[in-house]
């Protein structure tokens, strides 16, 4: 699992609320909402001076087998060469029941963001179905789609888009 941190910063509307409520009375106003206590200010590990480091994904194939599958535009079909790659991952999973994978689906940046989440998921599911057919068990596989939110290449051109339409097979233990 890659490292993450979350910072929740309070957004205080209390002062504004006090002012505005004088000129526009709000019949639905719930006075308890206007308390004076400060908001939560939860900081993760930021500010400690420690670097965040970098997660290392476990790859039982020792890097011999690619774990990125690329897709054509508007397609969730595997290319013939990649079917073989997926088959070898399936064998890996079938032979080692303690292994599990997370399939991370991605789309290129074009079009609407949530629809692209759907396109990324469709690609993950193509890989998932193949893994299942070839002996992996459902409990070994989870899927997530990042849509266009985590591009591998940052450009807005055909080449970058091709690199971004992908499924990453990540071994999680």
């Amino acid at each position: 699992m890659s490292p993450y941190k979350i910072l929740v910063v309070s957004l205080s509307f209390a002062l504004l609320a006090g002012c505005a409520s004088q000129d526009i009375p709000d019949p639905d106003r719930d006075d308890s909402v206007y308390g004076s206590e400060d908001g939560a200010n939860t900081d993760g590990m930021g500010g400690s001076g420690l670097g965040d480091g970098e997660a290392i994904d476990y790859d039982p194939t020792g890097g011999e087998l690619t774990n990125i599958i690329y897709f054509e535009f508007d397609s969730s079909e595997l290319r013939p060469d990649d079917a073989d790659v997926v088959a070898r991952h399936a064998m890996q999973l079938a032979n080692s029941s303690h292994l599990s994978v997370r399939l991370e689906g991605h789309a290129d940046e074009r079009g609407s963001r949530e629809y692209n989440i759907g396109l990324g998921e469709r690609r993950s599911q193509t890989v998932r179905r193949l893994l299942l057919i070839q002996g992996a068990s459902a409990s070994q596989i989870s899927t997530v789609s990042f849509g266009e939110e985590r591009p591998a290449a940052m450009g807005s051109d055909e080449d970058s888009w091709a690199q971004n339409r992908r499924v990453e097979i990540k071994y999680t233990n």
Binding site: M1, S2, P3, Y4, K5, I6, L7, V8, V9, S10, L11, S12, F13, A14, L15, L16, G18, C19, A20, S21, Q22, D23, D26, D28, V33, E37, G39, A40, N41, T42, G51, D52, G53, E54, E104, E109, R110, G111, S112, R113, E114, Y115, I117, G118, E121, R122, S124, Q125, R128, A138, S142, T143, V144, S145, F146, G147, R150, M154, G155, S156
Partner: protein
């Protein structure tokens, strides 16, 4: 010469950073900007200077609307601070249609009274006058409120200067990308970061009372939906099922969320979640991608994107479920539907000759109007007055925000935020 240019750029960038968030009007076509005078406000208080240049805030608001051209202060022949000192002839000579005068009076330690009056020069009459209490921290908002009243009186359209915008930013950092969820005033001032994460944040959605935001977070490499209360920063995880949890939108009564669930088999469908009971109901069952649900203002329908016909198109279904009906037929790609608060217009992302652009469909007449001019425009969101939309477009690698009137006549770029700015959502009217 080249060095001089660079220096000028650096200085102007610096000024933008420390002074007001800058808004450039990119296009103003087919609209005559009406001359108006916003006279500097008078000040009566213990300190030398007025705590906030209220007239400047009002003037900036009206300028940004694209419909008014406030005259420079130096051109004013008189600077009255109340109606009794108005000489209408002086303003007639200048050709201004309307004059705003006002003053700020200190009434306590950190208490002020802000009053303004709007006069019609031709009719020699007061159109609206109002007095509002303020503190130093609320005075900017009071000024926006005054601008709202002035704008509505002069145009017949409700002003939206006293509203907020939420959006997501992504910045490249040394150790990866940092995603932030930001809330700011609609003029870009008062930015608050309400959440940040090294994992993506998506799809912010306002509650109808504008006190909460729902959003999608990928923390832990899985998607979940949270509802965060803005004032406290407290948040609640409301959906974290296996697979996709996405595209939340509040119902008009604020009690339900429409959202997209994918499940382990990855079949994205529209569901409705009761926020209090956490009971959810599946609304669509098609094996295609069904996502991006949003409610009609009367709460009867859910509009959503589906590619059941091949490419993505917009459909609507009864909020209780049933058979969806297709809404869009023009073009091969229509997604992310959002109805205007008055229910008359449907905004969407529309593929227009190879470019993804914001379009609005008239719900009655069904005709489609393309409003934006970029190639990767997305996330249209209506202002609460149904007159203006905000959306994200691209300049180079970065996303920036633009607003456009629903008739397409006034389009502006908003300079805001750091890094790649995306997914703006306009707040409802602030009722508190």
């Amino acid at each position: 010469m080249r060095r001089l240019l660079v220096t000028v750029c650096l200085i102007s960038t610096f000024l933008t950073g420390v002074a007001q968030a800058e808004l450039d009007i990119v296009i103003t076509e087919g609209i005559k900007r009406r001359p108006i005078a916003i006279v500097p406000f008078g000040w009566q208080g213990s300190s030398q200077n007025i705590p906030l240049d209220v007239a400047d805030v009002i003037s900036a608001d009206l300028t940004r609307s694209g419909r008014f051209a406030p005259i420079p202060r130096d051109d004013m022949l008189q600077k009255p601070t109340s109606g009794v000192d108005m000489d209408f002839d002086d303003w007639s000579i200048l050709g201004v249609e309307a004059v705003v005068v006002g003053r700020v009076t200190q009434t306590g330690d950190d208490a002020y009274s802000v009053q303004f009056q709007l006069f019609d020069v031709f009719g020699r009459d007061q159109l609206v006058g109002y007095r509002m209490p303020a503190s130093s921290s609320t005075m900017r908002r009071v000024a926006h409120r005054a601008a709202d009243m002035i704008y509505e009186k002069l145009t017949g359209i409700a002003g939206v200067f006293d509203t907020k915008v939420a959006y997501v930013t992504a910045e490249e950092r040394r150790n990866g990308r940092l995603y932030s969820l930001i809330v700011s005033d609609q003029d870009g001032e008062n930015e608050y970061k309400i959440m940040e994460s090294n994992d993506p944040i998506m799809s912010p959605a306002w509650s109808p009372d504008s006190r909460r935001l729902a959003y999608v977070s990928f923390e832990g490499n899985r998607s979940s939906i949270f509802i965060q209360t803005l004032r406290t920063g407290n948040r609640l995880q409301v959906s974290s099922k296996p697979g996709i949890n996405g595209a939340p939108a509040f119902s008009p009564d604020g009690r339900k969320l429409v959202l997209t669930l994918g499940g382990v088999d990855g079949n994205l469908d529209i569901h409705v979640l009761d926020v209090n009971s956490r009971q959810s109901k599946r609304i669509t069952t098609h094996r295609a991608i069904d996502t991006e649900g949003s409610w009609s203002p009367d709460g009867r329908y859910i509009y959503f994107t589906s590619d059941r016909s091949g490419g993505p198109q917009i459909y609507r279904v009864s909020a209780n479920g049933g058979t969806p009906e297709r809404v869009t037929f023009e073009g091969s790609y229509n997604a992310r539907p959002r109805l205007s608060p008055d229910g008359s217009k449907l905004a969407m992302v529309h593929l227009d000759r190879g470019n993804y652009r914001i379009a609005v469909m008239d719900v009655e007449r069904k005709d489609l109007l393309v409003l934006s001019a970029g190639s990767q425009d997305e996330s249209p969101s209506f202002a609460p007055n149904s007159d203006t939309l905000i959306y994200a477009t691209r300049t180079g690698r970065n996303g920036v925000l633009e607003s456009v009137t629903a008739d397409g006549l006034i389009r502006q770029r908003l300079a805001s935020g750091q890094g790649d700015v995306r997914e703006p959502v306009w707040s409802p009217f602030q009722r508190f």
